[in-house]
C-alpha cells in the first residue's frame, strides 16, 4: 500500500490551538474576575451564543461565555470515527416520555464550544415567509411577533458569514442564491435527484449547506469524507467554534469551558445580578453581570430557568405566563432506506447535499396544515445498523446479512413540520445530575395534524425512493432537531420573551437560541438560530447601556449592522436576483 508523502500523518508540531486543519488561535484569552461585573454573561456558547459573543465583543462590551462542555482543539479532540465522536453530544441524563418520546443525546444535543453546530449536518435552508404567519394563514400554531422581512437581511448576512454553498437560484419560499457554488453530488443526492426527476418534483442540488465548496480565509474546502456529524476536522463545515469564536476572542471576549451554570441570580430590585455555576474544578462560584443571555437550547434553557425559581418567581424565572418549557417542537425525520442493485457507497460526500421543498407549504388537498421537506442523509455503519434494527427488525444473522449489503443502500429523509402544542414540554425530573441539579424531563405527543403529515410525507419519500429504482424500501420513524420551550411573542401572557429575546418578566434577562422559535417550518433550524442571534445582538448594541439600568423596552428594530461581521465576509459573490 502507498504511504503519504513525507511519512505518516502526525499531529501538528506547534503549541497553537487548532480549529480545523489550517486555522489556529492563540490562547490564553482575556480573563475577567468573578467579582468583576461584566456587561453580558452568556450561558452556552453554541449556535446562538457564539454569534452573540462575537457581535457584543466587537461592539466593545465586556462579555463572558460559560460553556458546559470543552473548548475543542479539533486536531486533538475530534476523530473520523462514529463511536469515537461520543463526546460531541449532550449525553448526560434526561428523562424522555409522553406517547411519542424523543431520542435526545446524539440526535439533537451538542455540548462544547460550538454546541450543536459542531455536529449538525449543516443544511441551511431559510424559513419561508409563510412560516411567520402560520396562524393567520392556516389557523394552526401561532404567528411570530416578527415577519420574514425583519429576519431576511440577517439570513442574507449569515449566509455570507458562515458561509453557505448552494445553487445560484433557490426557488422555494423567498427565492435567493448562495455565495459559494454547489457541491458535487454523492450517492444519496443522485438517488434524490433521480427519484424526484422521474416524478416531476423540483430538487435543489449541492446545497444549501454551510460547508465550503471553496477555501475561505483560513478554512479549507470540503474533502468529501462524510463525517460531517462527527465534527468537521477539516474546518470546511461551519460551526460557531470556527466562524465566530476566533473573532470574539480577538476582540476581548472570554469563554470559560467546563462551566455548568446551575442558577440565574436575582437581585432585590427584580433584576438579574449574574449566575452561579460549577467551574472546571467542580467548585460552585458566581459571575456578576449587568445582563444575562441564556443560550442553552430547547431543553437546557427551560431547565435552567425552572431551576432558578426563587421567591416571587416560584414557577421558574421568566415564567409568569406558565408557558416556559411548553410548545417544545421536534421535526419529523423519518429515514427512508432503499436497496439498489448497483453500489451506492453512501458514506462518501456530506450527508447533507440535496433537498426539495416542493411540499413545504400547506396544500388543502393533502388534508393537513403545513408540510415537509425531503433531504439527503448518509448514515455511517453504526447508525445504519441501528436503523435496520428498527426498519427491518434486523438482528443476528439477518443483521450480518443486511450489513454486508451496506454499500448497496441509500438513504433520504423526511423533514416535516410538527406544530407547537402546549403539552409538549420540558419540566424538571426527580433525578439529579452529578452536580445535584435536577435534570430535565421531556414529554412529547404527536397530534392529529402531525400524524397525518408524517403518514403522507413518509409515503411521499418512499415513493421517491422507489422511483429512483430501489428494489426494496423500508423506513424508520424518528425525529430531528429541537426548538421552542421559551417562545417569543408580543403578549406576556402567552410567551416567555419579546420579539428581541428579552424576557417579559425581567428586563436584563434574555433568551437567545432555538427555544424562542414559536413555530419551526420544515427548515433545519441552525441558520435561523444564528440569524436571530445576530438580530438580537444588533438590538442589544443599539440599546447601549439602557439594558443594564432601565426597565422600559424599545420594540423598534434597529438598522442592521454590516460592520460587525467576522473577517472575510465581504467580497464574496451572491448572484443578484431581480
Amino acid at each position: 500500500m502507498k504511504k503519504p508523502f513525507g511519512g505518516s500523518f502526525g499531529a501538528p508540531k506547534h503549541e497553537d490551538h487548532m480549529l480545523g486543519a489550517r486555522q489556529r488561535i492563540e490562547l490564553p484569552m482575556r480573563r475577567y474576575g468573578n467579582s468583576e461585573q461584566v456587561d453580558y454573561c452568556i450561558v452556552g456558547v453554541g449556535s446562538a451564543g457564539g454569534v452573540l459573543l462575537q457581535r457584543l465583543a466587537r461592539a466593545g462590551f465586556s462579555v463572558v461565555g460559560l460553556e458546559a462542555g470543552p473548548f475543542w482543539d479539533t486536531e486533538r479532540d475530534w476523530v473520523s470515527d462514529e463511536a469515537g465522536s461520543y463526546n460531541l453530544y449532550w449525553n448526560e441524563l434526561r428523562i424522555t416520555g409522553g406517547k411519542d418520546p424523543l431520542a435526545l443525546g446524539a440526535n439533537n444535543s451538542g455540548r462544547g464550544v460550538g454546541g450543536g453546530s459542531v455536529h449538525w449536518a449543516a443544511f441551511t435552508p431559510r424559513l419561508h415567509p409563510s412560516d411567520f404567519r402560520v396562524h393567520s394563514e392556516d389557523g394552526v400554531g401561532v404567528d411570530w411577533p416578527i415577519s420574514y422581512q425583519e429576519i431576511k437581511p440577517y439570513y442574507e448576512l449569515l449566509e455570507k458569514e458562515i458561509p453557505v454553498s448552494g445553487p445560484a437560484y433557490f426557488p422555494w419560499g423567498d427565492p435567493h442564491g448562495y455565495p459559494y457554488g454547489p457541491h458535487p453530488m454523492g450517492g444519496c443526492g443522485d438517488i434524490l435527484v433521480k427519484g424526484c426527476t422521474r416524478l416531476g418534483i423540483g430538487v435543489s442540488i449541492g446545497g444549501p449547506v454551510a460547508i465550503l465548496a471553496g477555501s475561505h480565509g483560513d478554512r479549507p474546502h470540503c474533502i468529501y469524507r462524510g463525517f460531517c456529524i462527527q465534527g468537521c476536522k477539516v474546518g470546511a463545515k461551519q460551526s460557531t467554534l470556527i466562524s465566530h469564536v476566533p473573532d470574539a476572542l480577538a476582540h476581548g471576549a472570554e469563554i470559560r469551558d467546563h462551566c455548568m451554570v446551575s442558577r440565574i441570580l436575582l437581585g432585590k430590585d427584580g433584576r438579574v445580578t449574574g449566575v452561579r455555576y460549577f467551574n472546571s474544578n467542580g467548585r460552585e462560584v458566581e459571575q456578576k453581570a449587568k445582563a444575562t443571555i441564556v443560550c442553552g437550547y430547547a431543553i437546557e434553557t427551560p431547565r435552567l430557568l425552572l431551576n432558578s425559581a426563587c421567591p416571587g418567581h416560584e414557577a421558574g424565572l421568566a415564567n409568569s405566563s406558565g408557558t416556559l418549557g411548553r410548545y417544545l417542537m421536534a421535526q419529523a425525520g423519518n429515514v427512508v432506506l432503499g436497496r439498489f442493485e448497483e453500489l451506492v457507497r453512501m458514506y462518501k460526500a456530506p450527508p447533507a447535499h440535496a433537498l426539495t421543498e416542493e411540499f413545504y407549504e400547506t396544500d388543502p388537498k393533502r388534508g393537513f396544515a403545513r408540510g415537509f421537506a425531503v433531504q439527503t442523509v448518509g448514515p455511517l455503519p453504526i447508525s445504519f445498523a441501528r436503523q435496520m434494527m428498527v426498519a427491518k427488525g434486523a438482528w443476528g444473522w439477518g443483521m450480518r446479512q443486511v450489513m454486508m449489503d451496506y454499500n448497496h443502500w441509500g438513504a433520504i429523509a423526511l423533514l416535516g413540520e410538527i406544530l407547537p402544542w402546549e403539552d409538549n414540554r420540558v419540566e424538571l425530573a426527580a433525578e439529579k445530575d452529578d452536580n445535584g441539579i435536577p435534570v430535565a424531563k421531556v414529554t412529547f405527543n404527536l397530534h392529529d395534524n402531525d400524524k397525518k403529515m408524517i403518514e403522507y410525507g413518509k409515503n411521499k419519500v418512499m415513493e421517491i425512493m422507489q422511483a429512483a429504482g430501489a428494489e426494496e424500501v423500508v423506513q424508520e420513524a424518528r425525529y430531528a432537531h429541537l426548538v421552542g420551550g421559551a417562545r417569543m411573542g408580543n403578549d406576556p401572557r402567552t410567551s416567555v420573551v419579546d420579539r428581541f429575546g428579552r424576557t417579559h418578566d425581567i428586563p436584563n434577562l434574555f433568551v437567545c437560541d432555538g427555544s424562542v422559535m414559536p413555530t419551526q417550518g420544515s427548515a433545519n433550524p441552525g441558520l435561523t438560530i444564528q440569524a436571530l442571534a445576530a438580530r438580537t445582538a444588533d438590538y442589544l448594541i443599539s440599546q447601549r447601556s439602557e439594558v443594564f439600568t432601565r426597565s422600559t423596552r424599545s420594540t423598534t428594530q434597529p438598522p442592521i449592522r454590516y460592520d460587525l461581521s467576522p473577517p472575510g465576509t465581504w467580497g464574496k459573490g451572491v448572484p443578484r436576483l431581480t
Binding site: 500500500m1 504511504k3 511519512g7 502526525g10 486543519a21 486533538r76 476523530v79 473520523s80 470515527d81 462514529e82 463511536a83 449525553n91 441524563l93 428523562i95 424522555t96 416520555g97 406517547k99 411519542d100 418520546p101 443525546g105 446524539a106 440526535n107 449536518a121 458535487p184 453530488m185 468529501y224 469524507r225 463525517f227 456529524i229 476536522k233 477539516v234 425525520g333 429515514v335 448497483e342 453500489l343 462518501k348 460526500a349 455503519p381 453504526i382 447508525s383 445498523a385 441501528r386 434494527m389 428498527v390 427491518k392 427488525g393 438482528w395 443476528g396 444473522w397 443483521m399 450480518r400 450489513m403 454486508m404 451496506y406 454499500n407 421531556v442 424508520e476 420513524a477 424518528r478 425525529y479
Partner: protein
Amino acid sequence: MAGSIHDGRPVNPNTGKPLRQRSQPGYYPGFSTLSQKDFWDDATRRIVLARLQNIPSIRFFSPEEVELVTAVCDRILPQDDRDDLHKIPIVNCIDERLHENRLDGYRFDGMPTDQEAHRLGLQGIAEVAQHMFQRRFVDLSPIEQESVLETLHDGDPPAGHSIWQRMPVSRYWLLLVQDVVGAYYAHPFAWDEIGFGGPAYPRGYMRLEGGEPEPWEVDERRYEWAPPPGSPSAKFTPVGGSSEHKGSPGQGSTH
C-alpha cells in the same frame, strides 16, 4: 431440537455445507481499512487502533453474567464464520460503557438505569431459557438460543413476567441490540467486511458517485451464503411482533 456442533455456521446454499471460517467474511476480499492508517490523522489512528490493542477488561458484569451476556451477544451478532484471530470483542465494550456510565443522553420514562436494565434483561433471558428448554441459556445450541431471543424480539417472552413488568421488553431489546451493533460496527474488521471506507481525514474521498471505489478500495465480489438453516434471526420481522413497535425513536444523528 438437539444442536449439532455446526448448526451455528452459515452455509453454502447450494451444498448445504457449513462455510469455512474466514479471517474476513464479506464481499470485499483483500480490502483493509487498517492498511490506510498512515493516511489518517493521529487522534483517529489512536482511537481506532485501541480497539484492537487495548481491549478493556471486565469491570461491570459479574463472572456469571459475563458467561451469559457473552452467549447472548454471540447470537445478537453471531461471529461463527470468523476465525478466532478475527473475532470482534463486544462484551468488553458494553461492560466499559456501563462501568463508566456512558449514557446516550436520555432514559425513557419508567425505564430503570441502563446498568439495571442490562442486569434485569439477562435475568429475564435466563428465565425464558429455563421455561422453554429447562436448561441454562449458555448450554443451549445456537438455534435454541436464537429461539429464546426471538421471543424478546417479538415482544412476547413466555417467562420472566415480573421483569418485563418493570421494563418493557421491546425497550430492553432495542437497548441490547443497539449496544451490540454499536460495538461490532465500530471495529475496523467489520468495516472491511461491509466495504466501508473508514476514516478519510486528511486525504478525503474523491469518487463520490456511482458507487465507484477509491484507488485503495476494492470492488465488490459477492458469493452465495445463507444463515444456518432454521435460524430465527434470519427472518426479518418487526420488533415487538406483528404490530409495529411504537414509540421507539431512532437513536443516532442524521440531519
